[in-house]
Amino acid sequence: MKKSRVIQLLGLILIGVALGFGYTHRSQTNAGESITAVGSTALQPLVEAAGEQYSANHTGIFINVQGGGSGTGLSQIQSGAVAIGNSDIFAEEQAGIQASKLKDHRVAVVGIAPIVNAKAGVTNLTQQQLIKIFTGKITNWREVGGKNVPIVLINRAQGSGTRKTFESYALNGHKSAESQEQDSSGLARSIVSSTPGAISYVAFSYLDKSVTTVTMNGVRPTEANVRNNRWKIWSYEHLYTSKNPNQLTKNFINYVLSTAVQKKLVTQLGYISVHAMQVERSATGKITTVK
């Protein structure tokens, strides 16, 4: 009885010593290093894919990517809880964020297009019509040359980056009327495709045959038109970091901005490369031409 106790105790001490030794002498080259990126669900697929490729090239480094929304991303990076905050909008546009304390890295551009249910019978809208539709002044598709179907507005959730961009650049800053709200692009598209007379807006990567993509003022929502700003409804995808990010974070952001990622991954996933843009837009909406 006594003897077995002693053996047990010795065994425990041995295990403890071994663990301690292992911990202090663990290989510290790249082992289990990781950074966390949190925020925008629109940007999540790109960061995830880039993170996976980066991990494959750099053994032992992990990029954790989580959703949660642009607001979450910005508030988490502001509080220093994560290394990267993903956002669809400029930090300056978000209430409660001190943009001067963050560093902005624009990694991609996303175009946003209005989508309409096929039964509405509309393929082109002027910006004025779009504004009137979303502010509730036009309530039937008949009034803009479509069929006699009532208009059903489907908005994204309040505070969503896509909605902010749409209200700023499609509605010229007009606030949309109170209407149905959905919190994801996929759901918005499926509702538009199944609800007669529904109109909403999604990123280019969500456009498909199930919904009618309308042109605005005769301009088609294409990548080429976004590049030269003929199609005005687009926004940057931002990776926000603190003013002095650590080396790993810097390396990863450089990797995302590298031609390898921008040329292949970014376009594959339906984003537009920032390198391809012929114009630049500031947080206040000022457009400058890039040489």
């Binding site: 949660g68 642009s70 409660g96 109170e178 709200e181 509702i191």
Partner: protein, 309 residues
Amino acid sequence: MDKIRASLLKKSVASKIERRGKIISLSCLALIILVVFLIFYFVASRGLATFFQNHINLWSFLSGIQWNPGTLGTNGQPAVGALPMIVGSFLITICSALLATPFAIGTAVFMTEISPRRGARILRPVTELLVGIPSVVYGFIGLQVVVPFVRNTFGGSGYGILSGTFVLFVMILPTVTSMSADALNAVPRYYREASLALGATRWQTIYKVVLRAAIPGMLTAVVFGMARAFGEALAVQMVIGNATLLPHNLVSPASTLTSILTMGIGNTVMGSLQNNALWSLAMILLLMSLFFNLVIRYIGRKGKLNNER
């Protein structure tokens, strides 16, 4: 002699184990209580900040009908009127409870009184299976089946209180049914025997004796179902349309406290008014579930008194 004395004065192994067990279970309990208090404290501290830090009038919060915390409403104050959500939550809860109760009681009566053997073997497992289905599945079915059905039958876009009611009806039915069945089962056998001995038919026995005796238990079941309906977020969010408008009718898009909470929380920043306003909604939810709990306890206590008399 000394040996016996020593062994008597020393604590036995069994009593040590007992004390250890007591400490473990007590600390588990303390931990749970601590967690509950922390949750209450956290929700209250964030939720009350809307009123104390951002100086929103409590009454305008509860009775306002504009919800867009980032902007100013027509009265110059931030638009944080929660009435549309409160009305939506209550309407959907009450409607689904009203719809589910008759079905649940009917099923429960069949399960316990009319065909107890089949009830125990088939019906109960089936209803309990319904409890286990994740709410996103209910929401998806609601989106693909219920919404078009409502649109084609009742008009409107299909998104609204009515679709939410149908989805919640299926979701709370199993809870209410199985709890009602438990309540009916708990009615003493001699009630039924006495009633039959007096010459009552089976229907008379069920209607005049068993159901009456089981009223407190069945009320508890309904309130439980209402608590679940009130707190359900995902499935409702998918079919209700999430428009922060006062519902004009049952097929116009509306919203509930939970749906606005889940949609908004990712887009706001901790400590801002937008975020605090959402916590205030969470506080209302918490207070309501507390209220439901108290109602259940009250009914339970009253039911006991009635039976003892």
